[in-house]
């Protein structure tokens, strides 16, 4: 009786078409200098990195992985945020605050809803923290010095956008904590010189925090600010490479 040989998946045309040469999943990957370089170069995500990096950059106490973790948190917040968007409506009209009841639904009736919401909230706080600490790390290692001056400025913009994202998200649950924190936080805009009224109106879509504000901040939170942030992130990452990779060694 003839034995039927199972087809070797890793040698099939389909497999080879998916994994480019040098992929560690491809048959014939060897732990050589060439294949290690190809593994980085031929992967859409990994090729954000150069094929080789300075050895001292691997030291945990040099970067504490803070920049990378900030990016990871951003991705995580995007994924959990998309999940939450399926169950959330930014409406808070008198008599039926959909936003708030949707929050309760997410917490009680949506499969894994509570967990995902918790991760989104805690992750957001953590991202503010990690971006701030990343900035401190960059300062202490002098990594903003030429030729990296402009990338520092891009980083400051990213910090500002992170705060903006966190703050706009803070309003969305539409509970007492949300509207009063936002009321306190935005009341300061009313003290801007010359444009106090206009600034307040632009920010809140009215004189006080209202359903208009909710819709406005929702759009900022899920679309406008992430879009701008991704643009600046692209510049930030690109400039790291162009400015000669990681700074140092000290």
């Amino acid at each position: 009786m003839a034995k039927i040989q199972p087809p070797n998946l890793r040698e099939s045309e389909v497999w080879k078409s998916i994994f480019r040469p040098g992929s560690i999943y491809r048959k014939g990957y060897k732990d050589t200098s060439r294949d290690r370089a190809l593994a980085t170069m031929n992967n859409v995500l990994w090729h954000l990195h150069p094929t080789k990096v300075k050895r001292h950059g691997l030291k945990l106490t040099y970067t504490f992985c803070l920049g990378g973790l900030s990016f990871f948190l951003f991705v995580l917040l995007t994924v959990t945020g998309i999940f939450l968007m399926f169950f959330y409506r930014p409406m808070a009209d008198i008599g039926g605050a959909q936003a708030y009841t949707d929050m309760q639904t997410i917490r009680t009736a949506v499969f894994f809803g509570d967990l995902v919401r918790n991760m989104h909230r805690w992750g957001a706080h953590l991202m503010v923290l990690s971006v701030t600490l990343h900035m401190a790390r960059v300062f202490y290692t002098g990594a903003y010095k030429p030729p990296r001056e402009f990338n520092w400025v891009v980083g400051v913009v990213l910090l500002f956008l992170t705060l903006g994202l966190s703050f706009t998200g803070y309003l969305l649950p539409w509970d007492q904590l949300a509207i009063w924190a936002v009321t306190v936080g935005t009341s300061l805009a009313g003290y801007s010189p010359f444009i106090a009224k206009q600034a307040n109106f632009l920010l809140l879509g009215g004189a006080i925090v209202s359903p208009n504000t909710l819709l406005r901040w929702y759009v900022l939170h899920v679309l406008a600010l992430p879009f701008v942030l991704v643009l600046f992130l692209a510049v930030h990452f690109w400039r790291i490479r162009k400015d000669g990779g990681i700074s140092g060694p000290l």
Partner: protein
Amino acid sequence: MTWEEVNKDMDAYQAALTAQTSSGVDRRVAEGRARRAGIRAYLKAHPEEEAAHAAEARSAAPAGAAAPAAAGNGGQAPAMAAPAAGGAVAVAAAPITSAVREAPLPTGNIPEPKKGAPDKHRLLAIVPPEGIQRVEREQGDRVHTWPHLLLEEFIAMAILFAGLLVFSSLINAPLRELANPNLTPNPSKAPWYFLGLQELLRYFHPMVAGIVIPTFILVGLAAVPYVDRNPSIKPGDRKVAITLFTILFMFGAILTIIGCFFRGPGYNWTWPWTQGVFFEL
């Protein structure tokens, strides 16, 4: 195309080589020029071979321009091996001088590297031999991104993810009662990262605490690399910068901590261990 030794006039080659090397040209460049002189001298002495070369080159050229026109041309071949499309007739009629492509003579000037130029290698595809500066870049101590850096990043990511997952399954994010614009909670606090500013409101006019200082912080942060022109990154050379930054950073951190934990009803001072914490994330 493979490298193929061609016939050259050795006398001309030697003469050119001596002339070039004695005039101080780099040896590699001199050899190239002598080689060219030798080949040209050889082809001048053997016109029939020159014609054959040209015909061969033409038939090897792509496009529908296969034109063995050179045969009836008195041993002279067209200068360009690849004629324009559909131009067999035009090629045959073209004035013919030499099969060797005429290029301007190299100047022989080897450019000096600019003063203070960084020690980097350039990625230029086409350079004249005298344009190549043999400057090796300091490669430094480098390791491959895969597996070293990528594994580290993956581990950091996995630990953070696991930590966040555990934390999120154990501790619920706050969700208070429905928003009520007519009922102000006491105290009313901004999100934690703005509590430093809210704390400043206790001491300064809102215009100062809410507008001037935040603007100053943002602009000041962005201006850091343009203000601090000290080129050194050694901590020992940057005592002033590090001290200043640390003081300001700690100042912000302390204000934020006070705003979070030491402020209670009416935003008055409270001790968290006696009156409790009035703070929600």
